[in-house]
Symmetry: C2
DNA sequence: AAAGCATAAATTGTCGACAATTTATGCTTT
DNA sequence: AAAGCATAAATTGTCGACAATTTATGCTTT
């Protein structure tokens, strides 16, 4: 979905953001009638929005009983990162062969701009910057399934964990180096290495988070 | 969804099977009113079923225009196998550490029964047997996201390709050896090797299919 | 005759109402 | 007083109707 068109699109996004940002509590029940008045749309629209959230693994629904926001747990975060490692590793592998020279150039430029910011002492990098970097590589894979699984499915959940467990992108400087090496591997069209480096990158990130949680 | 409960559940499954088995043509338009009469349910139920099929990547929907069954293409099949390689590789890795001894025993027994069948000259193996083998390893990963992505998402699409491009599981005997090696790696709790072997297994399978297509 | 426009037909999107199911309430029985 | 049951209330599921949008039709203009 590039642009929200229908009322259901907009409600889906509004509801999703309210959940991801924690304005609707994790684990809480989603009452259709309640949400219907809250977002000023019919129950049919709410139901469609909830169905889509279920596809994203953000809510769980039981027939004839209703939907609940998923509960966050350390175990859940670990499982999420395992999937990320797998999928983004493959994305990096494919990106190394499928990205155009132009796209790689742009990626290098993005990385350079991050370097300037990090050197300038700004911490902006960790948030949007990291996401942006990963986005480009995922898109660069040119694999439709990979792209939609990560963007529609995994990434909002990752964001939900980030926001609610309050882990604002750690490891700024080391992550920059890792990014640099990944870009270098892609530049060399070394698919094998690009995958390996991306997997390590995500694994380190997972370990870093695990340490914070315990 | 373990058991279909609501009318929407049943319609979703009926519609999905009709598409996967080719009774509804790939690439064709899905008219809500038409399907409504065909399956003898209201349009609301049809719409919910179509929405779920969209989540499975079996249909594509455009706002205010309607839904179409996805078109099958060699490129699409390749992309699908890339995702399978990635996810099932990780599943095998996780299974090597997370499966119980009992589960591994059962898996070995399953493999033995396949061996007997192959030796007996039956070709039953290739269909349900292969699927069953992969199912167990995926479940053995104990990773919720991995399981649902593969079972709800990827596998029906794979089946759709198998049925419609008429590729009834090739490579029977060689695949058996590959399965055996994977089980051995899991038995040894060698996660690294289990992943590598599973990835190779799926890669070979992809190559074999590619050869048939061209 | 081809292109463009206005109107009609058909299709999807949204709504409120009723049905089916689950959950809460309060009574009865022991 | 606790457990079990019947009934009431609330919630989800399904339906048909209307609104909004897209697509098809046929006329007008050049």
């Amino acid at each position: 979905m590039n642009q929200p068109i229908t009322s259901a699109d907009k409600t889906f996004i509004a509801l999703r953001d309210d959940i991801v940002e924690g304005r609707i509590q994790a684990g809480s029940k989603l009452s259709e009638t309640e949400l219907s008045t809250k977002y000023a749309v019919s129950r049919a629209v709410i139901r469609e929005a909830i169905n889509r959230l279920e596809s994203c693994h953000i809510v769980e629904r039981k027939a004839n009983v209703g939907a609940r926001v998923v509960a966050l747990s350390p175990q859940g975060l670990i499982e999420l990162y395992q999937v990320r490692e797998s999928l983004e590793g493959m994305a990096a592998r494919l990106a190394a062969t499928n990205m155009t020279d132009q796209e790689i150039d742009d990626l290098s430029a993005l990385l350079q701009s991050h370097f300037d910011e990090v050197k300038g002492g700004e911490s902006y990098y960790q948030e949007a910057g990291d996401v942006d970097f990963h986005y480009r590589i995922i898109l660069g894979s040119k694999n439709k399934h990979l792209i939609s699984m990560l963007f529609d499915g995994i990434y909002h959940l990752v964001r939900m964990y980030r926001v609610q467990l309050g882990m604002a992108g750690p490891r700024v400087t080391t992550a920059y180096d890792e990014h640099k090496h990944i870009v270098q591997a892609i530049l060399n069209r070394d698919a094998e290495l690009a995958e390996m480096l991306m997997r390590r990158h995500i694994l380190y990130s997972k370990n870093s988070i695990e340490r914070k949680l315990s």
